[in-house]
Symmetry: C2
Subunit: 393 residues, 2 copies
Amino acid sequence: MNFEYQNPTQLLFGAGTLARLGEVAREHGAKAMIVTGGGSVRGNGTFDRAVASLTAAGVSFVECGGVEPNPRLSSVKRGGEIARREKCDVVIALGGGSVMDAAKVMAAAPFYEGDLWEMFAHGQADRRRPERALPVITVPTLAATGSEMNSGAVVTDEATAIKSFVGAPCLYPAVAVVDPELTVSVPKDQTAYGVCDLITHVTEAYFNGVDGTPVQDRFAEGVILTALEYGPKAVANGTDLEARAQVQWASVVALNGWVQAGTLSPYPVHMIEHTLSAQHDITHGAGLAVVNPAWMRFAAKSRPERFAQFAKRIFGIKNDDPMKAATEGIDHFEAFHRSIGCPTRLSEIGIDDTQLDRYADDTLLVAGNAEGQLPGRPAMTKADIVEVLRSAL
Amino acid sequence: MNFEYQNPTQLLFGAGTLARLGEVAREHGAKAMIVTGGGSVRGNGTFDRAVASLTAAGVSFVECGGVEPNPRLSSVKRGGEIARREKCDVVIALGGGSVMDAAKVMAAAPFYEGDLWEMFAHGQADRRRPERALPVITVPTLAATGSEMNSGAVVTDEATAIKSFVGAPCLYPAVAVVDPELTVSVPKDQTAYGVCDLITHVTEAYFNGVDGTPVQDRFAEGVILTALEYGPKAVANGTDLEARAQVQWASVVALNGWVQAGTLSPYPVHMIEHTLSAQHDITHGAGLAVVNPAWMRFAAKSRPERFAQFAKRIFGIKNDDPMKAATEGIDHFEAFHRSIGCPTRLSEIGIDDTQLDRYADDTLLVAGNAEGQLPGRPAMTKADIVEVLRSAL
């Protein structure tokens, strides 16, 4: 249990905190670039409220709109150019995980020599992490990725359909303004995908982390139990602000490092899903809802006791046979996904068996181990990845 | 659920990390002041290893030794003078909670105009929080207070026997070097008191925080369950490095804000105990071992369901009568304290009924509410505080 941890992001959490955006932005500069996605923040008034807060605080802005779900390298480069050309002091991400991830890389662009794609992790021997970035203020409008309070970003190079990851200390947002009121208009399906996404962030650490992390086990279980209790309420009634707040808080702590500290965990389920969403442009959380239970059935075979612990502590399942307990727990987990309207088969998200080899190859390529194995417990060969995907068809 | 959170401390955790002290200190300056306590770090070699690491990194140092348990204002002022006079760049706290708390205030001293006591919270209308401090590196040699990764400090003015608190963003340590190997020589009694201390940090938030914090409830329970599992092992066998590491990690997260975030909790048990240790110079954790269960029996009367939840989730107690469940849980909790050799009665720590009024008056005075109530759930009158203490005689 040897590890390092530091997360300097200032968090403002609570209903109504969007009104403080101008005040906190002003502490970081006088000119902002606001990054947005497909336009929902304009439709529901969030953009106007953000602008009003900035204007009242004397912060001017330029805009970089149109960031796609599964944000594309070209969009990130476009935003980086705007930030550089317009000499912005601060980057404000107003949107979901895609917008926040894109904004982080845009903020690093003005200080990054050469092609932005060189900072990403897909097995590049000459990878160069960013070392400096403009301050970023994240204002999540969706409870899902946890990007608002961590130093990671995932971007897809649309030319090659490779979805890759960058993480660096300079990418921690300066401030996260987390206002659950902004999520009340999120549709049922996206709400549910977000719940699956946040749960997967902690199951990765729970099942793939090192042994001997009892505090982190309990923290992960706490996030999952909270998501299981409040996720369905948020899906059933989007205006249930209490449920929205609990789900959003769970999504923040699911990937701000508090649960992962010391687990030294790889993210095999994410790695596999990224390949699917890179090829098919599906919502990340929907892909995870399918891949995570399928992966769990595979991984439980080599470590049933761990999955039996999950079954017991999350679903109260008691069975002296660890493998039976594990299977029962995963059944419950998959049933939860279905109960909130998430897909649990690849066929439901338009993926068939014609490219399973390609997904597995890409996963290993992005993991930087094209000829080898995907890190995790257990480490996975290409054949293992294909098997997991085939089991989820 | 509206709150702010930011903790910028860089954490290095794990056996052997003391060897990195010089490297991290050098990032913050070339001259350090090392703060120590009663001399155990000299006896067990920790001091020499720290110095060797600093010297190898080219960091020179002066020393400020002799900080007492329940650190005194005069010692803090003495250290502040040394830091100022010697133009130190960085302050290194090598010891337990007292040393770390004292070091934080010493680090603020060179920038603080006027009497250091004016930054403390004991109901001072003209309180002035510190706004700047030298970087502090904490190297805890005891798992207890959580001071290594938070922005608080508790100091006693020996002239008045008032023990008071200061908290300010500038007091967050720059780095916490947390090496469980440094705790293997801690005696059984101090190990046990540390376990009680860390548990009390999370029970305060659990029982006194606002409603509707399910993630934080689970986090608190995770810390408690880990302490209950590994605390007795660390007490029984001090060289059990696994147990030492789990207890120390639990003590870090018990008060670095991860458990408390959003609970907005006051600390009534700490406030009462501080008055006892200010008067009697007992170990804080030993005082908490007595006061916490006594306070729980008092508080459970007004909110039995909350204490029944504690009983169920921590000890597996099921009883349809919440008050009976609550009482049974507190009985178990008190029995745990006894099982690791902690006192559970005031008489065991040399305190009788002759000054109960004084303790209650001082508690309210330090809380800044001399004529009123002590914040908590429920808020406590002077008579309530006396009643709790009397029940623990």
